[in-house]
């Protein structure tokens, strides 16, 4: 991506003002919902509705055209019919606009060849002016850290801000992930619907996000890609700095056909995508939930330095479930050092398995014993990460409280992934608090927790040497992997 365009992407996502071409008072128009998103999303910059027949929209003074607004405009959201878009783009180019979100559909994805012509027309205007365009045929994008909801769904603003950036080829999947995240108490830094990728494709988004301080992990939803090699190269560069997890659909025949018409591109074979992703250091996942779960762990846990896992469970069952998942995914149930084991044996009566995975059940009545076990294991040199499970059972009601001080102090020097489950309203606040303080990352089931940890290990374990795709014979250069934790405050 040329430098000017990359620079402009920064303004696109953090504009000092935003114009909406096609802003409307009429709830039947997308321009209405876009205005609602902007005005209700908590954005502090100036909002400039462009509509030749309105004086003001939602309390903001409206202008007849971009030109009739005297000052510079950073971001323009375009939501007028396709045939008007070339004119709007020319106005944007003349005005030195830095970024465009083109929500309008009716370009490459329709069957009418006129659509493809229009697409090419506006593409060259944008490229000549170095303007990055999100879309066309997209719901838009949200930058949660700027309170900027440039989409037609105001309710995206209910998602709290976080550290994962979602780049998606499907509007539907973006809405799914976004609203699922609210239910899972997870946040996003950005959600971007790249739509029909006029001049911003996955590769450009990865290049931009590599250096975005608000983003610690990137999640991709992919249906079909046009520029495969440039995506792989961009991914290889990005994963040196921060992890990427990707969900690709379209492996079933039906899916493939839907893919072809949905994005106007030719989808590749599933096995090969999987292979290509792995080679680029992208972690592939197999469903929407796994995409969120893995991204959450990647964004909030440190990288484990090995695959030695300790499973500490308040009850044996969940621990067993976790062991099965761990074994399947290349995680190793660590053997405790003698001193750790001795300490555990002091704290636990010999009524259940005291070796790893540890059934802390016999100490159910003794929250400080549990805390003592956790502490000993955290400090064991054979342990690189911990799975901590506890199911609420009245008699152990204060277990979380007792561990809170220790966990906060420990501050995930090694990753701690948990499943701390109680009926709604009992442990919720304590667990959320621990998560927000970065003390652990919690999941609703022991299997999801173990799988998330496996994802973390996949990232830790990826090969460090990535040669450029065009130079198969170049000798390997050692790459320093940058721990994403050091990039953010």
């Amino acid at each position: 991506m040329d430098n000017k365009k990359l620079q402009n992407m920064r303004y696109l996502f953090n504009p000092s003002n935003v114009a909406v071409v096609g802003a409307s008072q009429n709830p039947g128009k997308l321009g209405f919902h876009v205005m609602k998103s902007l005005t209700q999303g908590g954005y502090n910059g100036e909002i400039i509705p462009i509509n030749p027949s309105a004086q003001e929209i939602m309390g903001h003074r409206a202008f007849k055209s971009l030109d009739s607004y005297a000052h510079d405009i950073d971001l323009v959201i375009v939501v007028v019919p396709a045939k008007f878009v070339p004119h709007v783009f020319r106005e944007c180019a003349n005005k030195g606009v830095k970024g465009i979100v083109l929500i309008t559909a009716g370009f490459k994805e329709i069957e009418d060849p006129l659509g493809a012509e229009l697409h090419e027309q506006i593409r060259s205007i944008a490229e000549d002016a170095h303007i990055p365009v999100i879309g066309p045929n997209t719901f838009g994008m949200i930058n949660f850290h700027a309170g900027l909801n440039s989409s037609f769904t105001p309710e995206f603003s209910r998602i709290r801000k976080g550290k994962v950036a979602l780049v998606s080829q499907s509007g539907g999947m973006s809405h799914l992930m976004g609203f699922l995240a609210i239910r899972e108490d997870m946040g996003f830094s950005k959600i971007v619907g790249i739509g029909n990728r006029l001049n911003v494709d996955f590769a450009e988004m990865l290049e931009y996000l590599s250096h975005d301080p608000d983003t610690r992990a990137v999640a991709l939803y992919v249906e079909g890609i046009d520029e495969a090699r440039s995506l792989l190269q961009a991914a290889r560069d990005c994963t040196k700095i921060k992890p990427i997890v990707a969900y690709k659909t379209g492996s079933a025949r039906v899916g493939d056909m839907a893919s072809a018409s949905h994005t106007g591109s030719v989808a590749g074979d599933y096995d090969i995508y999987n292979a290509a992703f792995k080679q680029a250091g992208i972690i592939p996942v197999v469903d929407s939930q796994q995409l969120l779960d893995t991204a959450k762990a990647l964004a909030h846990c440190p990288i484990p330095s090995g695959n030695g896992i300790a499973i500490l469970s308040g009850q044996a069952g969940p621990g067993m479930a976790a062991s099965d998942v761990c074994e399947k995914h290349g995680l190793n149930i660590a053997r405790f050092t003698d001193s750790t084991q001795a300490r555990i044996n002091e704290l636990l009566p010999p009524l259940a398995l005291r070796t790893n995975p540890v059934d802390m059940g016999p100490a159910w009545y003794d929250a400080s014993a549990i805390a003592g076990i956790v502490e000993a294991v955290l400090n064991d040199e054979n342990v690189d990460a911990i799975l901590l499970y506890m199911m609420f059972a009245s008699a152990n009601a204060d277990a979380i409280e007792r561990m809170t001080g220790l966990l906060q102090q420990w501050n995930q020097q090694k990753p701690i992934i948990s499943c701390l489950l109680s009926p709604p309203g009992i442990w919720d606040d304590q667990v959320r608090d621990l998560e927000q303080k970065g003390a652990l990352v919690n999941y609703p089931t022991p299997e999801r927790a173990a799988l998330a940890l496996a994802g973390l290990w996949k990232y830790a374990n990826k090969p460090q040497r990535f040669n450029k795709l065009n130079e198969p014979n170049k000798p390997n250069e050692p790459n320093e992997r940058i721990d994403p934790m050091t990039l953010i405050d």
Binding site: I225, R229, A275, Q279, P463
Partner: protein
């Protein structure tokens, strides 16, 4: 590569087994010792040079699946058997080139498959997996996009469900993993360096002891490919 150019000039879409193996050999991939024999005289010479036991295969540029056409005879132990087999096979071959491929017989129970395909998005991709008659049934395979590095090759071999076949199992020595990795990397290079090559099938790649040897090979051409 000459063998490719010649085939394209002749308007062919495939290389014969013998030509395919020449291409592989040019890239350092171990192939069976073999020679074409057009008559009994050449047959006797080839057999004695290569050494019994041998395999005879009907040879024609358009033969893709020889077992189905009754055109293979294996474990031929002496000249008498060789001549009989030669006559039987050449009766069944339909074209003018009544030639037979005389090949050393590779003994090994472990059959692997190595292949190349050209993906419209990613370009040449290498495939590895369990070979022989089970390839299509089990589909226990893995892929990597070319160019492959050593760690890609090693990883993809470990990814198949049947990867333990490469270990020292049932009295057989462990496979020479480095040699296998070199083969995978080389196949990727063939794809990157020869736009006319559309697909490659090395099946079976037999482990003779620990050493992999390409026992059968097919190269599919596409002169319009890139």
């Amino acid at each position: 590569m000459d063998v490719i150019k010649k085939a394209i000039e002749q308007g062919r879409k495939m290389l014969s087994e013998h030509e395919s193996k020449k291409l592989l050999a040019a890239y350092g991939i171990p192939v069976t010792k073999e020679r074409l024999a057009r008559n009994v005289g050449e047959l006797k010479q080839a057999a004695s040079d290569i050494g019994y036991p041998i395999v005879l295969k009907g040879h024609s540029p358009s033969l893709a699946h020889k077992t189905e056409k009754g055109l293979i005879r294996v474990d031929i132990r002496n000249e008498q058997e060789a001549i009989e087999a030669f006559n039987e096979i050449t009766e069944n071959v339909e074209n003018n080139e009544k030639a037979v491929l005389v090949q050393e017989m590779i003994k090994g129970q472990r059959e692997l498959v190595v292949g190349l395909t050209r993906d419209p998005q990613f370009g040449p991709c290498v495939m590895f997996g369990l070979g022989g008659i089970f390839t299509e049934i089990l589909k226990d395979i893995s892929f990597r996009v070319a160019p492959l590095e050593k760690h890609d090759a090693l990883e993809m071999m470990r990814e198949i469900k049947g990867h333990k076949i490469l270990d020292a199992v049932r009295g057989m020595p462990a496979a020479d993993i480095d040699a296998l990795a070199d083969i995978l990397i080389a196949v990727g290079r063939i794809g990157l360096e020869n736009d006319d090559v559309k697909e490659i099938d090395i099946n079976p790649l037999i482990l003779q002891g620990s050493k992999p040897v390409a026992v059968d090979a097919l190269v599919v051409l596409d002169p319009n490919g890139a």
